[in-house]
Point group: C2
């Protein structure tokens, strides 16, 4: 039996737990299924960089795996222990350390909620543009770990693009810095972007300097409804290719629209819908006119734009979609929810193929996503007690991800690899590139202490 | 004597040279001084990925250093051999392989000129926005190697931000891919941004997929003249902090202005000047009005904006500055020309301190730079035959770089580390971070074949 007393030495009595409840709570995330979950032996809640360093140094000495954990909102099992050990919960490192409006920068601890960053920025007329949709329940550390992104990535880029500087603790407890508070630097290897997206396998982030932006003066948006999915996807691709300056552009497939219509009780057609939002300091109406002209080639059934509350009303179905799907599912459950991303020209193809894959296998599937990035979220619904249906679902899931890779895309656009997408890494990157990643892992964490079992495929794959 | 016959085996007779002229030509760059230059033993000009792979595999087997070389426009000795061996010249890998306007992407070989990329993009109404000022004489491979940037970084970011996917050859000849054609991916470690900026010490880039953007419909710009350097720097910082959407914002110190005025023969005051350019699809005049309002707080002596040829005329002094400085120098020469970058709030401080450092030491110094990024280029002029003056220059140079680091900035914003900035790496990143960089170098290139002697400080520093 491993002795976890060193954790108490590192953080004191109250922030270590080996009880059932805490261990259960740290055994899964939004994407894992109970039967796949692995409970850590102990959970520890550090509050300072020094405590994180002491925990890792102690674990390193003893050869105990450490899996960083935050809000547990991941979809790919990124923060779920693959080999028991310690769950290092960063949610009590939730201080906003310094806001520097004169540099459009903020320093935060990793456990701070994304929405808290945006609120702190708002006090200075600023905003944190890459905030994911889950930003009010997920942490900055989790976002950095997966290089997450949100609806606004089409205009503002992903979370990693807005990280300037990191403080992080290596597997043996060494504290390093990575990046610069200067907005550009070519001073040596880019450790910052290596740590971003490495899912806690290389280091534990203990402080991040984030770039902020001014809040736009004008926000307008609304909804366009199309007759077919192909029209909707084509209109989106065309808008991006034409350079329409859109801040959000979301697609809802007809199945998702039908479920949401039913749930909200609207009289809208059960047809593919595109939700858009525009940000500008002036001239937002010209941009909307430009978008309208591009969309017109795809004969939308409607194109409605507005501001403020009216805009929020037009977005209602997109907002309610997740709840509507939850409600619809009943005994069905989503199999491996996640996303793939392809070059924008391949977006109409991937949505068509994904639909065909599901239809051919007689599976209900909701499609939606941050379409302006070529990003498709799929939610294949299966009855977990129906083995044959689950097998069909697994087959459909693999086919959709493989198709995205064939189209020059990626197996995971914004949720990381975790456990769920490991099997696709060789196919996406090639074995030699994965070997380079592995050599970096071995160089930084030779004993494999940090979040073992993630990202890398099994040797046989 | 090393036998370089394997190079002939790799690429044939005509693209290998051991003659004096070729070796001399590959011994220096724009920033090195003749007495510091080291000649390679042999120069090789591959044209394909397979040839690069064969060259590296052969050199690796024999333990021969390979220094990738391109246009030789670097300022920090990045492509200058530190240990003889082979200069791998990529300038004959200069094909534009594929333009995909539907994805706003282009695939290029590393030796293609930046301006050629922009011209190929222009045929489709697109542009490559991060192009450095030297883009018509420098290569994409060189830009990727140093994570270079240009005047438009303030709006569009740096070169690395526009690289999506790379093919690269490792030290032992293994060909890998890094990145994705999807605009976002969180699939494993970000090898792409690790290779970008690594100055050919980790891999040789053999193909790059670059992101393009639509060409702006409206371009306007011009010049504002200020009474003091502090006013000019303050106006720039204020514009950035206020969110003025400027595409270029360049500062010329009064010394540089004086030299340029004299050279061009204008009747403008020898006063600090700010050159700006605005890009928009509509509403550019509103943005200019916004900028005028922000600048007004600093009482500019003039604020003139125009389009087309009139705009080009307003920019004349900035454009002619390099030639004016060349002309002025006579027997003086710039000592370690390069740049530092600081957070924008510290920009007025670094320009004031740099000026004081030079004045205290009675040294002529031209200051200019991409000020919107907090980027300052310094050109301390010294008489190379005056040892005491050179020593004063060295002292001033070190003090300016150290000051930038103290202000939270970086020793090199866009020219890489090469040989010139190695001594500042421990101070900027801390020894532990530099050790992590070194461990990555050792993991990818255990025999130290690729561009040895660069980036990393001597162990004693």
């Amino acid at each position: 039996m491993t002795d976890y007393a060193f954790l108490t030495d590192a953080v004191g009595d109250d922030r270590v737990s080996v009880d059932e409840y805490a261990r259960d709570e740290h055994a899964g995330d939004w994407g894992t299924h109970p039967e796949d979950e692995v409970r850590p032996d102990a959970v520890v809640w550090p509050t300072t960089t020094e405590e994180v360093s002491a925990i890792l140094a102690g674990a390193h000495e003893r050869g105990i795996p450490v899996t960083p954990y935050a809000a547990g909102t991941g979809l790919e099992g990124n923060a779920v222990p693959a080999h028991e050990g310690i769950s290092l919960d960063t949610t009590r490192m939730n201080e906003i350390l310094d806001v520097r409006p004169e540099d459009l920068q903020v320093d935060v601890q990793p456990g701070v909620l994304g929405s808290a960053v945006d609120e702190a920025a708002a006090e200075h007329g600023l905003t944190f543009p890459p905030l994911p949709s889950s930003g009010d329940i997920s942490t900055v550390g989790g976002m950095i770990a997966t290089d997450a992104s949100g609806m606004q990535a089409v205009k503002y880029g992903v979370v990693g693009d807005w990280v300037l500087d990191l403080e992080a603790v290596l597997a043996d407890g060494t504290v390093i810095s990575a990046g610069s508070e200067a907005v550009k630097s070519s001073a040596g290897y880019n450790l910052k972007d290596l740590i971003v997206g490495s899912e806690g396998t290389l280091a534990v982030v203990t402080r991040a300097t984030l770039q902020l932006a001014g809040r736009p003066q004008q926000i307008r948006g609304g909804r366009a409804v199309f007759e077919t999915f192909e029209d909707a996807a084509g209109a989106i691709a065309d808008a991006i290719q034409s350079g329409v300056d859109v801040a959000k552009i979301e697609l809802l497939g007809s199945f998702a629209a039908e479920v949401a219509n039913e749930y909200v009780g609207t009289d809208l057609p059960d047809a593919p819908m595109v939700f858009v939002e525009f940000h500008a300091d002036h001239g937002v109406d010209e941009e909307i006119d430009f978008c309208r002209a591009v969309f017109a080639d795809y004969d939308p059934l409607s194109f409605e734009m507005a501001a403020d509350e009216e805009m929020a009303e037009l977005w209602e179905l997109r907002r309610e979609m997740a709840y509507a799907l939850d409600d619809y599912r009943e005994h069905l459950r989503p199999l491996h929810p996640g996303d793939v991303t392809v070059p924008i020209s391949a977006f109409p193809t991937i949505v068509r193929e994904a639909r065909e894959v599901a239809e051919d296998r007689d599976l209900p599937m909701a499609c939606y996503g941050h379409a302006g990035d070529g990003n498709l979220h799929y939610e294949i619904l299966v009855d977990p007690d129906d083995e044959e249906m689950v097998a069909r679902g697994e087959d459909a899931y693999e086919r959709i991800v493989e198709k995205a890779i064939e189209l020059g895309g990626t197996a995971t656009g914004e949720h990381g690899v975790g456990l769920g997408k490991r099997q696709f890494m060789n196919r996406e990157h090639g074995r030699d590139s994965v070997a380079v990643m592995r050599s970096i892992k071995d160089a930084l964490d030779p004993d494999g202490i940090l979040n073992p079992g993630k990202i890398f495929p099994d040797e046989s794959e």
